[in-house]
């Protein structure tokens, strides 16, 4: 009787978080369960394919260090929820993976994290060896709390070259060209832009770029720091108006909310030629590479988001995930060992291994090894974009604290599909907790 069990479970869920703290002892992943042992540091990461590089790095570290590092992994979708339940308990790691910005703000506020000033004072390489626009993401209350790890993920405008050629459209450089392209493509019977609206965060990407281009990066910086008035500004309304115009022009078709990126729906639209563009994080490349290698080889185009005439944002600005970060818990018993471990994040070995699995590290020595990446042209293009970007805005859902995510997703989805207007969107964004 599964259904009976479900009622029980429902009653339990609220209290389950307590139980979870207990049960996580068993779910800690690899390594022995005696956390906080006297001579180990525990490193907690998001569980996915990149773990093999992280395992290798831990092995490298353990060869020379007296204090041994132990790598724990938590499967992707549950990462944030599980991290939050263990971080203030006995199972807390010494070092953990995060997205910077709002994703670690609650932990900083709770006094759990160690500002990295002392580490950086002892080893300036911890900042100087990384691209500045990326380092900024993990600064909270004016202090650095994270060292970049893994690779950068800017959001790019991908296209199907064949569809564009058939329609006689060139990749748009300006917003007006984008609108014109939408009209032509629609007349040809293709969906101009693929969008996985069912996931909601792909919809959010459109807001991030349009707001940055129209209102400049200052708008969001103010908003996330608690100045709610900016959401009601003229720039904000202009950005919403432009999005409305694009949606009403039929740019995304009519059924985008039934399509998801995560189950391969929207990439399939692009790859099979049913759609011409998709705005997506740089991981789109490897996603498509796996499912449609021929398409990637022959017809996949990529470029930056169009510029907006008269907009306040620099056309070189990027949005997305500047990088992932390692943050350090204040109560770690081995700060020296942790500092040594973090130094590996700008080592040659780290850069080479990350490039080998398709990640693009944001260290200053990355260009030396770009030839060894899976696709040197694509990696070089991305690296140059990130390097010259004056501002690399972290995705809204990560820049705000986790408590804001649901509201943001609902607001962008409802505005896009016409369930709510600009006023409701502005009110929703004004209701968010400040980071």
């Amino acid at each position: 009787m599964k259904r009976h069990a479900r009622l029980l479970r429902t009653a339990l869920v609220g209290g389950a978080s307590l139980a979870m703290t207990l049960s996580l002892t068993a779910c800690g992943g690899s390594g022995d369960a005696t956390a906080g042992g006297s001579d180990t540091i525990r490193v907690l990461v998001y569980g996915d394919a990149a773990n093999k590089v992280e395992k290798r790095l831990v092995d490298t570290f353990n060869k020379t260090s007296k204090v041994k590092a132990v790598l724990d992994t938590i499967p992707g979708a549950d990462y944030q929820a599980k991290l939050q339940t263990i971080i203030s308990g006995k199972q807390a790691p010494d070092v953990f993976f995060n997205w910077g910005g709002g994703s670690i703000k609650p932990y900083v506020d709770a006094g759990l994290l160690m500002p990295l000033d002392d580490f950086i004072a002892k080893d300036p390489g911890l900042t100087s060896r990384f691209l500045p626009s990326v380092m900024d993401t993990a600064v909270v209350n004016g202090k650095p709390y994270g060292v970049p790890m893994r690779g950068t993920q800017p959001v790019l405008l991908f296209s199907n070259k064949k569809v564009l050629a058939d329609a006689g459209v060139t990749p748009p450089r300006t917003w007006d060209e984008l609108l014109a392209a939408v009209k032509v493509l629609k007349a040809k019977g293709v969906i101009p832009i693929a969008l996985g609206g069912g996931d909601k965060w792909p919809t959010q990407m459109w807001f991030q770029y349009v707001y940055d281009r129209v209102a400049g990066p200052g708008h969001f910086r103010k908003a996330v720091n608690g100045d709610k008035s900016v959401w009601a500004s003229a720039d904000s309304r202009k950005a919403l108006g432009m999005l409305r115009e694009l949606i009403d022009a039929g740019a995304f078709g009519t059924n985008y909310d039934s399509v998801k990126f995560t189950d391969g729906g929207s990439p399939a639209l692009l790859a099979t030629g049913k759609a011409a563009f998709e705005l997506m994080g740089s991981w789109e490349y490897s996603t498509l590479q796996e499912a449609y290698p021929d398409f990637v080889r022959n017809d996949l185009g990529y470029g930056t988001f169009p510029t907006v005439e008269g907009g306040k944002g620099d056309p070189d600005n990027l949005v997305g995930n500047p990088n992932n970060f390692y943050s350090v818990l204040k109560r770690t018993r081995h700060p020296e060992a942790v500092a040594e471990f973090l130094k590996l994040m700008y080592s040659d070995e780290f850069v080479k291994s990350q490039l080998g699995i398709g990640n693009l590290p944001t260290t200053t020595n990355t260009p030396e090894f770009l030839d060894g990446s899976a696709n040197p042209a694509y990696s070089t293009y991305q690296y140059d974009l990130v390097k010259k970007a004056p501002v690399f805005q972290l995705s809204w859902d990560q820049a705000y604290p986790p408590a804001a995510t649901t509201t943001i997703y609902q607001a962008v989805q409802q505005f896009f599909n016409g369930q709510s207007g600009p006023d409701a969107f502005i009110a929703a964004m004004q209701s968010l907790p400040a980071a």
């Binding site: 009787m1 259904r3 009976h4 479900r6 009622l7 029980l8 479970r9 429902t10 009653a11 339990l12 869920v13 609220g14 209290g15 389950a16 978080s17 307590l18 139980a19 929820a81 939050q84 339940t85 971080i87 203030s88 609650p106 932990y107 709770a110 759990l112 609206g197 069912g198 996931d199 909601k200 078709g253 009519t254 059924n255 985008y256 909310d257 039934s258 399509v259 998801k260 189950d263 729906g265 399939a268 639209l269 049913k274 986790p402 408590a403 804001a404 995510t405 649901t406 997703y409 609902q410 989805q413 409802q414 599909n417 369930q419 709510s420």
Partner: protein
């Protein structure tokens, strides 16, 4: 006899006591099983149901985001929830999904169950086939239907005349329809099985008598089978109500509460509050509200149907 009593009779038989009308302990000393026998189950129930329930009550009066210790917040969570339009809507959605589930699943299950209660071999085979969806995990089922209903690559793209642009999960009506359809697809087999068992327990003599009186199959169904299934219908409906009110997995995978908050039922809203927004106080309050509503609905159902009086449907009793 109701479907529930044979088991009870067996137990009573083993204890050689407890027949209706015979009161008090028998002199033989072969008593009922002592309370000690229930102890293991009672301990488990206490540990995994009662203790968490008490904790949830405590948390519903606290502010807690999972970090540090909960702070007492008085009635804050409750007053916030009662003013929250999404919360009110989520309760309505829970009830709507439940009612739709019952209304759609009950007739199908009864018809299939009664049909499957026949004794021909092909029916047994077909019944086994019907049962397959229940064996699949609800997650797998949801993922499967999501793919099948994809607007650009699934069935809707081949049947535009029926599905239009295929934006099933992008509209409230469409999304609710898909949710009801998927849970019907998965859970009808369970209820069919229950009805099959109950229909087989209807005494053959009733049909024989009806036939002699010249009643056709339709009349037999409405005048013998349905009344005889009354208690089974209540049992099955209570299961559906409990399942409907706590629908969660299908929503998590198929709609994530969207579009907007159009399919955010209370169970999903609770999950969102707890594990997306890390607002465990509010989530606990929702959980309690859901427990209250579920209890209330079950009680009403039991009262309305007379199930509490446990009237036997056996002829002549």
């Amino acid at each position: 006899m109701t479907t529930a009593t044979p088991a009870a009779t067996a137990v009573d038989g083993a204890a050689k006591t407890g027949r209706p009308g015979r009161r008090g302990r028998p002199a033989t000393g072969v008593g009922r099983p002592g309370f000690a026998w229930a102890a293991p189950a009672a301990v488990f129930f206490g540990l995994f149901a009662l203790v968490p329930l008490v904790l949830v009550v405590v948390l519903s009066f606290a502010r807690w985001n999972g970090l540090g210790s909960p702070e007492f917040a008085g009635l804050e969570n409750w007053s916030r929830l009662l003013d929250d339009p999404v919360m009110v809507k989520s309760l309505w959605l829970s009830l709507l999904l439940t009612v739709l589930g019952v209304v759609v699943q009950t007739p199908i299950s009864i018809l299939l169950g009664v049909w499957a209660a026949g004794r021909q071999r092909n029916r047994a085979v077909l019944s086994a086939v019907y049962f397959v969806p229940l064996l699949l995990s609800i997650t797998a089922v949801s993922v499967l239907w999501r793919a099948v209903l994809d607007p650009n690559f699934g069935i809707p793209s081949q049947a535009r005349w029926l599905f239009g642009d295929g934006n099933l999960l992008g509209t409230q009506a469409g999304a609710l329809g898909v949710l009801v359809f998927v849970s019907t697809w998965q859970f009808t087999p369970l209820h069919t099985l229950i009805y099959q068992g109950a229909a087989r327990a209807v005494p053959e003599v009733l049909y024989q008598a009806a036939q002699i009186d010249g009643a056709g199959r339709v009349r037999q169904f409405f005048h013998i089978t349905l009344p005889q299934l009354r208690n089974t219908i209540v049992t099955s409906m209570i299961l559906m109500v409990v399942g409907g009110l706590t629908t969660f997995d299908t929503i998590l995978i198929l709609t994530q509460g969207g579009p907007g908050t159009d399919t955010t039922n209370s169970a999903y809203y609770m999950y969102q509050k707890a594990f997306k927004s890390f607002d465990f106080g509010a989530a606990s309050a929702i959980a309690l509200l859901l427990v209250l509503v579920a209890t209330l609905v079950s009680l009403i159902l039991v009262r309305l149907t007379g199930y509490d009086r446990m009237r036997s449907t056996m002829e002549g009793v």
